[in-house]
């Protein structure tokens, strides 16, 4: 082995402190580095109390994130969580982020003072390879062997002292998810981490040498591989079974849709009753004046009609959480690879697409793990077709108003759940067809190889699932309290002017009504009247806003505020118009946040403009065709 301290920056040849040596001062920015899915973000969340997104598959973290760790009796230490890397030669956007931060090239962030190197202790002989390039940086480094609980449970072993000796840096066994060994990490953060002792490192560019070195080091430390994860393998035998795998997938998906529809119903009815009760109570306090009109008919009708969908959305997120945390998502990507290959993409594109079922914004961020630039842009462009959770309220409202509930496939799947499932499939088909179109024209590229590390299955923890659901509830309520409240207010204002003889006008003659009537000729061919038109305009901000808007419009119409949104809608939409509206929402790009993130991730307005135009045109034409076929 050739001796090589990386890039010869000379720092390593300085006199070296022992791990117990003098306290290095001023370590205020510490980077969390490690291979993908080693548990960096889980540790980051433990140390900072923040809620960085974590899941059980490689490549969840795609950007750097800062957080303060409160270390007792010490100044605050700033931690920076980084995307996973296998080496210091980045191959995708997310790996480049880690590389840039570690080399001090990241804009607005100085070079870290020290490193926490997080390795998966159940995969040590492989993961140790990363220790070579990281130690060669010459920065103070603490090596953490994560998932110690798993290592013990599967009868693996490693001698931490011996490992520390051969690496010249302190080593600790921890379990970030269980909280084991966290005090040790905090002690190190408080005391400061020493610069590693110089050791013989392999030539970093020579991957086989580095691997040999890692294997040698782990052998010296008496590393005993944990027993194979038997349960994982048994589960794979079922989930990847040529026949039962797909069957189970379909059953699970069907059950989820049924649960979202029927299981969430009692909760939704509860919220609805609360909203109605509190509205009536406020109405009683406020009398009949303008203030009552604003607060009860305008704001509360708008916000309340969206709040009703909170239980449903949380249920969806709970399900997505189980999929992500258990490790099933990576298997789904594997199963989907062939389909994705047929449309010119690869299985890796499937993971962002699946997370787009929650929201397109994180999904577009997640495309950073795709190495091929053209594949990445194609995935970004099709992600908003996937049925995000903001479409759920719109779909639920219209389906519940127009489709009677009957058994569809025996007692397992009702007509409403089936209609919802159909809309999800429609979005997926649109995405896949668009990908095919893009990959055979403007984004043609060579087939990129597909490599995906399969994580072991893990039981999702209640804590993690609880945090996800709580986070989502917060986001949802925040949006109800800002965007939807704001739009409701604006709408109430537009619907209250011009005053006629000192009274608010009938809604048709108000400014909002005039606005709706102005665009009515354009949307009449799709089966929508001016009220739906007002909803469509407001839904450009975010899709679910249309529900709030309709709530406000009907809330302000005398006589209609009693019958509820569903019955009110039946007056304004024909069944054909309802289907047309569903199709419109399946295809149209009505989301400012998504456009903004596409602009940021692609670096220009070109792609968001193309995307908005394409999706809008597709929505318009499809709705037109559907409406005329059905009526």
């Amino acid at each position: 082995m050739s001796s090589c301290h990386g890039d010869g920056n000379g720092r390593n040849s300085a006199p070296i402190a022992e791990a117990e040596g003098p306290t290095p001062v001023g370590q205020r920015l510490i980077a969390l580095v490690g291979p993908p899915n080693a548990g960096k973000s889980t540790l980051f969340n433990r140390l900072t109390g923040l809620r960085q997104r974590v899941a059980n598959f490689p490549g969840v973290t795609v950007e750097h994130r800062l957080g303060k760790a409160q270390v007792e009796g010490h100044y605050d230490v700033e931690l920076v969580d980084l995307p996973g890397i296998y080496s210091l030669s980045p191959r995708s956007e997310d790996e480049r982020v880690s590389f840039d931060v570690l080399s001090g090239k990241m804009d607005g962030l100085r070079k870290p003072d020290a490193i926490l190197l997080i390795l998966d202790s159940t995969n040590l002989s492989r993961h140790l390879t990363l220790a070579a390039p990281i130690l060669s940086l010459g920065l103070p480094t603490l090596i953490l062997l994560n998932m110690a609980d798993d290592l013990r449970a599967r009868d693996g072993h490693v001698d931490v002292d011996a490992l520390s000796k051969s690496l010249g840096a302190p080593v600790a066994l921890i379990s970030a998810s269980k909280g084991e060994g966290i005090e040790a990490v905090e002690r190190f953060l408080a005391r400061g981490i020493a610069v590693p002792k110089p050791i013989q490192l392999p030539v970093l560019q020579d991957v086989p040498r580095c691997r040999q070195w890692a294997r040698g080091v782990s052998e010296q430390a008496g590393y005993r591989h944990p027993a194979p994860p038997e349960l994982s393998r048994k589960l794979d035998g079922v989930f990847l079974h040529p026949f039962w795998g797909p069957v189970i997938f379909v059953i699970v998906v069907g059950a989820v849709f049924q649960t979202i529809f029927t299981g969430a119903r009692p909760l939704m009815d509860g919220v609805q009753a609360l909203v109605a009760m509190s509205g009536a109570w406020m109405g009683g306090l406020l009398g009949t004046g303008l203030l009552k009109s604003l607060i009860v008919d305008g704001l509360w009708s708008g916000v309340g009609s969206v709040l009703v969908f909170l239980p449903q959305i949380l249920l969806l997120f709970l399900f997505i959480g189980v999929l992500e945390d258990s490790g099933y998502l990576a298997r789904a990507a594997l199963i989907a690879d062939r389909t994705m290959a047929r449309v010119g993409l690869q299985g890796k594109s499937f993971i962002p697409l699946l997370s787009a079922y929650a929201c397109a914004v994180p999904a577009i961020m997640a495309t950073r793990t795709i190495e091929n630039k053209r594949d990445r842009i194609a995935t970004i462009l099709i992600a908003p077709f996937m049925t995000c959770s903001a479409r759920l309220p719109v779909y639920t409202l219209i389906i519940a108003a127009f489709i009677p509930e009957r058994p569809f496939i025996g007692p397992f799947l009702g007509t409403r759940a089936a209609a919802m499932l159909g809309l999800y499939v429609l979005g997926f088909v649109a995405a896949v067809a668009t990908a095919r179109l893009l990959k055979s024209s403007i984004l043609r590229s060579e087939r990129t190889p597909f490599v995906l590390e399969m994580p072991a299955y893990r039981r999702p923890t209640l804590r993690s699932l609880g945090l996800r659901v709580a986070d989502r509830a917060e986001v949802f309520l925040k949006r109800a309290g800002t965007v939807i409240l704001g739009v409701s207010f604006l709408l109430w204002l537009l619907a209250s002017v011009p005053l006629i003889h000192g009274h608010t006008p009938p809604i048709e003659q108000s400014l909002a009504g005039t606005l709706g009537r102005t665009i009515e000729p354009a949307i009449r061919p799709l089966g929508f009247n001016w009220k739906i038109g007002i909803g469509l305009i407001s839904s450009l901000a975010a899709r679910e806003v249309i529900v709030g808007t309709l709530g406000t419009i009907y809330g302000m119409e005398p006589g209609k505020d009693q019958v509820g949104l569903q019955q009110a809608l039946q007056h304004d939409l024909s069944p054909a118009g309802a289907v047309s509206l569903l199709v419109f929402f399946a295809f149209a790009m009505q989301c400012m946040s998504t456009l903004a993130v596409v602009r940021r991730e692609t670096g220009s307005w070109k792609w968001p403009v193309i995307q908005f135009t394409y999706m809008g045109a597709l929505a318009y034409v499809s709705s037109f065709v559907v409406y005329h076929l059905l009526s």
Binding site: P208, H225, D236, L240, H241, P242, G245, L334, I335
Partner: protein, 91 residues
């Protein structure tokens, strides 16, 4: 530094990873792939001289999951076709 090389015609009898059936083990010989990609695979555990085991596959047989050094990595058939193996199982 030689990480991957074309095999000479005389050695055409060698097997590739794609021929490894489910549940079979073999020893990796070399990776006939662009250096960047070969490096990534080696970082993941596909090291010449090391053992490899064919595990589950997606329905239809492609991609397949290979076990190397305790890790499970999924590869497409087109990649497996360019990874050469010898039937002897390394210790």
């Amino acid at each position: 530094m030689q990480l991957s090389f074309k095999r000479t015609p005389g050695e055409s009898k060698s097997r590739t990873l794609a021929e490894l059936g489910s549940g079979e083990a073999a020893t990796l010989v070399d990776l006939d792939l662009p250096i960047d990609f070969a490096n990534r695979l080696m970082e993941l555990g596909f090291l010449p001289g090391g053992p490899v085991f064919a595990a589950f596959s997606a329905p239809g047989g492609d991609p397949r999951v290979f076990r190397v050094e305790g890790a499970e990595i999924a590869l497409r058939r087109e990649t497996a076709l360019r990874i050469h193996i010898s039937p002897a199982v390394a210790a």
